[in-house]
Symmetry: C2
Subunit: 673 residues, 2 copies
């Protein structure tokens, strides 16, 4: 690569892009870790994008109508940090760059949305960013349709590397974007032919251009170091009605001794090579320095969007009070005032009509009343609409012909759906929910973990939650998935036992500001157990006494979801035998763990024997409640699963695995002795 | 669709294929559940493939050189069951078909490899089968290179639906197969334009032909109901040096009232419509019946391969004793006799040299001695070879130029790698292992669950197992992943504390016959703690006393992996303070749980206070050991993580989260009071 030739061809551009490269080299060298090569390779594309096309105002990084920039190749985090510093982002003084990857810095190893405005989404796990970007672009279309182009009209830009494009989730994202004709989404492929193990060709020979075309994208190829080619391609991409991919031929770690090698992917820390690279670039500034004219040019770039932003604010002011308030409310993620009353009215009605329905059907009942009063809900399913009960009458289907639709046919793409929902949520203005079978949280797992880490209040509607699924057999019968969700920090797992608890669960999900919720719902019908109306949301306590012991309290049965009615049946038998039995419904272990000691002891007092019942593995958090939090409280037993299930009618499976009222009774009697 | 025209065009073929269709309709109707449409749509392709091309012998379904047939669209399980019944598979009498989806039947809702020879792999979770098929095809290439085409020379055939092709894992599989030029892999796409939610076009408009071409495949398109077109395409596919995709335009639920609708995907149980469909087909046989001439034709098909099989057996006999024994050994999945001695010798050496290395490096040390004595190991990494330490000097890289290579550059495809490893293992003759960061088990999770369900003894080499990863931050720092692995049935999770335990862990992994193993390994260096050589494999007990208390035993510290040396440091301090402290190393909770009561009580006696230490969440099974299995044994505390980690140097993170010897000491002292 003839660096001198590049410098000469576009001398001003060269020095501006060089600032990204030298800051990256300096920061990585100081941290003695990180990834130098990607920012160095994509600096030219970033410089053109940020200076000529990206609508942003460094002084207002959360302005709702800004363009969104997503670095899917998150290991190249110094690209973002350099750009934020150069353009004058207030949270990015040079001290942050100097503190790259150190304790407490906003400049984390990978960009973290919760640490820094200006980072739209946490990236690092490859492929997530491009799939988030699809959600961002859908959100823009939906909100433009709802609020008009005066309030929403922006692009979503994404940088993706070979790693992102090899990950399966990229396929789901690309196909979904192509189907949805997301014309304001532009992906730049950092085509540098290098991965950690060597040249890309040792593991991949995909023709990415042909691949994106096959998915319905507008595709261009450019020299990723030629600012004019880049600029022209971006201009063309903006005009396309299809999502655009720009294949940028780049050199990883451009101008460094490690250029075009897998070594160049990682931390380039050799001091002599660093000096040589800077010499190569023709810069004479010291570590963490940038020439004053270059810095001021970049700061000017950082204020390019100020006018647009101020005009946008004026347009927002011009809206009717109602419209402005509504826009502001949905972007703040606040539930409408009507929600609480709507839920209460439904609960009261249900406690009277006492339907016997599956909790997945209960969930639809709730959505039927919520969706009309909460226009920011944005539903969907991974091709299981009728099974997940996620579509309600008034939503309409979101597609290129109907951007006002609020329901997405995500296709058989659980992972892409979850990652898109993260993007929808992070964009602001929408509250996404999406369904699949609980067992297939496995497919969505990387994005579900990121919901928790990024604090996106997405709702996962997970139906067919146990062997109660029946004949489809063990590939479709979750047994360890409650354990997975409960073990994941900042994930609210709720397994309601009837329609009333389902309504309370939805209320918690839709008022959450920073925690994703997993609703764990049955395929099979369940009786209404909450037949006495309470205004309070009992699920919010995590666990509560559903039925008190009569006479001396000898046993406590703790159950969740579809096993609560078995506990109630068992209680009846036990009471008949003179054994005073309390039933505790425990829809959410996480919420119960958050209650104070006194409440927990009140619900689970020491003394009586304890039997836990759940059609899943005991490892899903049961030891704490059964052995007793202080480890000396009760004799105990667990009725549940120890292995994968089997293919047979659901009722027979519950018999086979001993998850029955009879067995609960036997366990209690055995413990009492 | 003019059924009469199809019948007339190929009357004999028609009736043979109709047998698949009517058995499917009868079985689903009897079960009142299942999926009728797919077998009805693909019956013609299956009939041509099985009768004219598939090398198989119904009397010997596990013959090592048979062609492999994989139904990736596993919900269409009646396709396989019909074919096995028709061709005379001994485990598939008509009673099994009548018992479809019932308790104890081999005809489970989705095909289960562990229930039935003839089912090569469990399918149902979409996309898995096609990704398994890539592993099967790689295995064939590798074994043909090792043992010659006299012993290994077969095709791998796969039926995949739109669901399979929408799932991200299909992208990883297709790209890997294209890169590896797996010429003996043929995929049939059931192109029926229907998913559960409606027409495919509501969620997908991918040009699949162009997509497969972009991945380097040979692609043809045929009418999936024209036996001549199908036959010609298969013949051409067999000649191609690339993997082949045959796009088969089909009609789901052909000839039934629900044809070409999403209703046709599921259970078609209406009695009148069933009769009408049979009339449409021109068959007059009753429920679960097939005309005698059709059945005998199919039985003849089932014996087509008998001659090949007998000839193959003769060729095996002609091999040298050594070669035949070796072939038989690797297909039986038996470890070589040398393995045990090799491991012992290494352990002895390590206990003397006492290296201070990361357990990932320890793992490489073990592989360096194992791989030469165990030629069936087949390694790889998802683009983290240098980080996972999975490549040893003698393996060689497996690709189209070197089929004797035993190491695969899987690319950034954790999910595709895991699914391919399932195929490699199920094929027989190889023992696959593959590496990625422990956090990215998230990406591989659906296939890892299937390893457990299918009982494939795959080894997952999962490095960078905690906040010890350091600066890359929380997206790369597993905290809940031990919980996930431990909660999954039939999954052996081992987190060794030093090189000796790592060697013992590998020995268990490589001698496992029916359980996958997850090796959980550190990035950071650890001292050798097992400095006294023992011939016995102590890891096999799950937990054991690493250091006994001196004086009165007042405390037990239980730790795993990188925290065991912290426990040892804490013990030293406590002993100095006169507090008798036992340290228990617990590399595998699963194995410890399998020991008898007496052993468990010996290791963890009631009385002393207990402190558990692990750089992960307590929910990963700790309550059982800390609260005590009988819930009344000890005061206890846990030193670990409660939230996601952060980006900073590893040592600072251990300080920040209090996972230190000092804190362990403080906890013990606090409990003793």
């Amino acid at each position: 690569m003839d660096i001198a030739k590049l410098r000469e061809a576009h001398p001003d551009h060269w020095m501006r892009a060089a600032a990204i490269r030298t800051l990256t080299l300096d920061a990585v060298a100081a941290a003695n870790s990180g990834h130098s090569g990607m920012p160095m390779g994509m600096a030219d594309v970033a410089t053109v994008l940020f200076s000529k096309h990206l609508k942003f105002d460094a002084a207002a990084p959360t302005w709702p109508d800004r363009d969104r920039f997503i670095l899917s190749a998150g290991h190249g985090s110094m690209l973002i940090y350099s750009l934020l510093y150069l353009t004058g982002h207030k949270e990015m003084p040079i001290s942050q760059i100097k503190n790259f990857r150190q304790m407490g810095a906003k400049t984390a190893g990978h960009p973290e949305n919760f640490l820094l405005d200006g980072v739209e989404t946490t990236t690092g796990p490859l492929g997530q960013g491009i799939a988030n970007a699809v959600g961002f672009a859908m959100a823009e279309e939906a909100l433009r349709a709802r609020f008009g182009s005066k309030l929403q009209d922006h692009y979503t830009w994404c940088f993706a590397g070979d790693g992102c494009l090899m990950e399966g989730v990229s396929h789901e994202a690309i196909a979904l974007a192509g189907r949805q004709k997301l014309g304001k989404l532009v992906v730049f492929w950092d085509n540098n032919n290098i991965t950690i193990d060597g040249e890309v060709t040792i593991s991949d020979r995909t023709d990415q251009v042909q691949r994106f075309k096959a998915a319905g994208w507008h595709v261009q190829s450019v020299d990723g170091h030629d600012p004019e080619e880049i600029d022209a391609a971006i201009a063309a991409a903006k005009k396309s009605q299809k999502p655009s991919m720009i294949a940028c031929k780049t050199h990883i770690a451009l101008g460094h001794a490690a250029q075009d090698t897998s070594k160049g992917h990682g931390a380039l820390t050799n001091a002599d090579q660093l000096v040589a690279a800077k010499k190569n670039y023709g810069v004479d500034w010291g570590p963490f320095e940038v020439a004053a004219d270059v810095k001021s040019w970049w700061e000017e770039v950082g204020s390019h969007g100020r006018k647009s932003r101020v005009e946008w604010e004026a347009r927002l002011e011009e809206q009717s009070d109602r419209r402005r308030t509504e826009f502001t409310r949905v972007f703040a993620g606040e539930a409408p005032k009507k929600l609480a009353a709507t839920i209460k009215a439904l609960k009261r009605q249900i406690s009277e009509t006492k339907p016997k329905v599956a909790t997945r059907a209960a969930s639809q009942t709730v959505l039927e009343v919520i969706n009309p009063v909460m226009p920011e809900t944005f539903g969907g399913s991974a091709d299981l609409t009728g099974s997940n009960n996620t579509l309600t009458a008034d939503l309409g289907v979101f597609d290129e012909k109907n951007r006002k639709g609020r329901y997405v046919y995500y296709g058989i793409r659980e992972h892409g759906m979850a990652a898109a929902m993260n993007g929808l949520s992070l964009h602001g203005g929408l509250r996404p929910y999406g369904g699949t079978f609980f067992c297939f949280t496995d497919y969505a797992r990387p994005a579900m973990r990121l919901s928790a880490l990024m604090k996106t209040p997405v709702t996962y509607v997970m139906t067919h939650d146990s062997i109660g699924l029946g004949e489809d057999g063990p590939t479709h019968q979750p047994v360890e998935h409650l354990a997975i969700c409960r073990a994941t920090p900042n994930t609210l797992t709720i397994r309601p036992c009837d329609t009333v608890e389902t309504a309370e669960a939805w209320e918690l999900a839709l008022t959450s500001q920073s925690t994703p919720t997993v609703l764990v719902l049955t395929r099979q019908g369940l009786p209404t157990l909450r037949t006495e109306h309470k205004n309070n949301n009992l699920v919010s306590k995590g666990a509560y006494v559903l039925a008190e012991a009569e006479g001396k309290r000898e046993a406590i049965i703790i159950a969740t979801g579809s096993e609560v009615h078995l506990a109630m049946q068992a209680r009846e038998t036990l009471q008949s035998a003179g054994i005073g039995t309390r039933v505790v419904s425990m829809p959410s272990m996480e919420l119960f763990a958050e209650q104070d000691d006194a409440y927990r002891r009140k619900v689970l007092p020491a003394g009586p024997v304890r039997v836990g019942v759940e059609a899943g593995v005991r490892a899903a958090g049961w030891d704490r409640w059964l052995l007793g939090e202080r480890g000396r409280e009760a004799k105990q037993a667990f009725v549940g699963m120890t292995d994968f299930g089997a293919s047979a009618p659901a009722e027979e499976l519950f018999e086979k695995y001993g998850i029955t009222a009879d067995n609960i009774v036997a366990q209690v009697k055995g413990l009492i002795g």
